[in-house]
């Protein structure tokens, strides 16, 4: 795993999602890049139409909702 992207136009739900993901990654001490991308182009390239979205290595795993920390851990395979 190299990169986790949090996509969204910068609304509060997107910021909350970014916070959750970053918290999980930091807590687990993972060496992975977490970026927040607010560009429409990136969302469209991935076909994402509901924000916030979480993307792991170019694959959309969450769309249109704020994931809980447990779910993020499961998605990252560290549950």
């Amino acid at each position: 795993m190299n990169k986790i992207e949090v996509l969204g136009p910068g609304c509060s739900r997107c910021k909350e999602t970014f916070r959750v993901v970053r918290h999980v990654v930091e807590q687990a001490g993972l060496q992975v890049e977490v970026v927040k991308d607010e560009s429409i182009e990136r969302m469209m390239a991935l076909g994402l139409m509901a924000t916030p979205g979480v993307v792991i290595d170019g694959k959309v795993v969450v769309s249109g909702r704020i994931p809980k920390a447990d779910e993020v851990r499961r998605l990252l395979g560290i549950a």
Partner: protein
């Protein structure tokens, strides 16, 4: 993802069953509680607190004790069911079904999808681009964008709980009607050139599917919706009902009739004009609706006000300005506001 939860399958199965049974028992208890609320409210008001039957205070207190748990229970139930239902609908699926649809039938479908699909106004831009670049007609896209905020489950529950199924049904039917007709009109006006040109250049990727869901996931979605929505609006609901209870007990009816009654022709346009720039969620606006109705304002006027507040908002217009030129935004506001105006007059005439 190839890495899955390391939990062994057997205990996981047991957990699923335990959860299903617990959910069932919980639901049964809630239904039982719901049916007994009138009795409990009466008991607390007259036996426990011993207020005098027929007094203003007793009537207000009984109303409050009955309505608060009733509306909160209804809200929790409906938001849960809607949350589970929405796990079946994604914008990606709506887009697949709507792409290449003809107008008219496409508008109807889009308005229905608008209710069923989870939507937040911050997703309006990616959703709009995703739809139009995949070949969903502009008017059909607008039907979706209008019905998504307009027909709102929280508003529906509150209207049902506080005013009965007729008002709730009217709101649902007319909200859908406006979304269908306004979208159809926007489609007929051929305004595609008023979409910002860069939108058409965007290469929209194939449907990004959220990982396929099990029933456990769907129930989790339902609970998450309850936490997010009920957690956000419960205070408005309680405050609103408190105001309503005060009105119920004390304020003489027909107080508002002179300036928001059905005989005042300019009341509906004024309500829409006031409502359009205002921005509030349904839970925040319905207490006001209740207060106005309780004082004798006409139903059509009040519904028009509510629809204008929740369906058209300044923040959403600013977000949409990124992809729409002013002419199209103005047309959008104009058509929807006219629809709301018609609904207002219609109700004032028939109710």
């Amino acid at each position: 993802m190839t890495t899955l939860s390391p939990v062994a399958p057997a205990p996981r199965q047991t957990i699923v069953w335990q959860r299903a049974v617990l959910t069932g028992v919980g639901l049964a208890l809630l239904v039982l509680l719901y049916t007994q609320l009138q009795r409990i409210a009466g008991f607390v008001t007259y036996d426990l607190v011993s207020l005098t039957r027929g007094s203003h205070l007793a009537s207000a207190v009984e109303f409050f004790i009955f309505e608060v748990p009733k509306v909160l229970l209804l809200l929790t139930g409906v938001v849960f069911v809607v949350g589970v239902m929405r796990s079946f609908f994604t914008p990606e699926r709506a887009r697949q079904l709507l792409a290449g649809k003809r107008e008219a039938s496409g508008n109807v479908l889009a308005a229905l999808f608008g209710i069923a699909t989870p939507f937040c106004s911050c997703s309006a831009v990616p959703l709009f681009i995703g739809f139009v670049t995949a070949g969903v007609p502009l008017g059909v896209t607008f039907s979706f964008l209008i019905s998504a905020p307009m027909v709102n489950e929280v508003a529906l529950v509150l209207l049902f709980g506080l005013f009965g199924w007729k008002v709730a049904g009217l709101y649902l039917a007319t909200g859908l009607g406006i979304a269908i007709i306004a979208g159809w009109i926007i489609g007929r006006l051929k305004l595609e050139r008023h979409v910002e040109p860069w939108v058409w250049q965007i290469q929209s990727g194939s449907a990004a599917a959220d990982v396929s869901k099990t029933w456990t996931d769907r129930l989790t979605d339902g609970r998450a919706a309850v936490r997010e929505i009920v957690g956000k609006v419960w205070l408005y609901v309680v405050l609103g009902i408190a105001v309503g209870a005060g009105i119920h007990g004390y304020v003489p009816t027909n107080f508002m009739a002179s300036f928001m009654g059905r005989d005042v022709w300019w009341a509906v346009p004024l309500a829409v004009l006031l409502g359009v720039p205002m921005y509030s969620n349904a839970a925040g606006i319905i207490p006001i609706v209740q207060a106005l109705l309780g004082k004798g304002a006409a139903l059509g006027t009040v519904l028009a006000f509510m629809m204008a507040v929740i369906a058209l908002s300044l923040p959403e217009m600013i977000i949409l300005r990124k992809v729409l030129r002013p002419v199209l935004i103005a047309t959008f506001i104009g058509v929807v506001a006219t629809g709301i105006l018609v609904v207002g007059y219609l109700f004032n005439a028939v109710m």
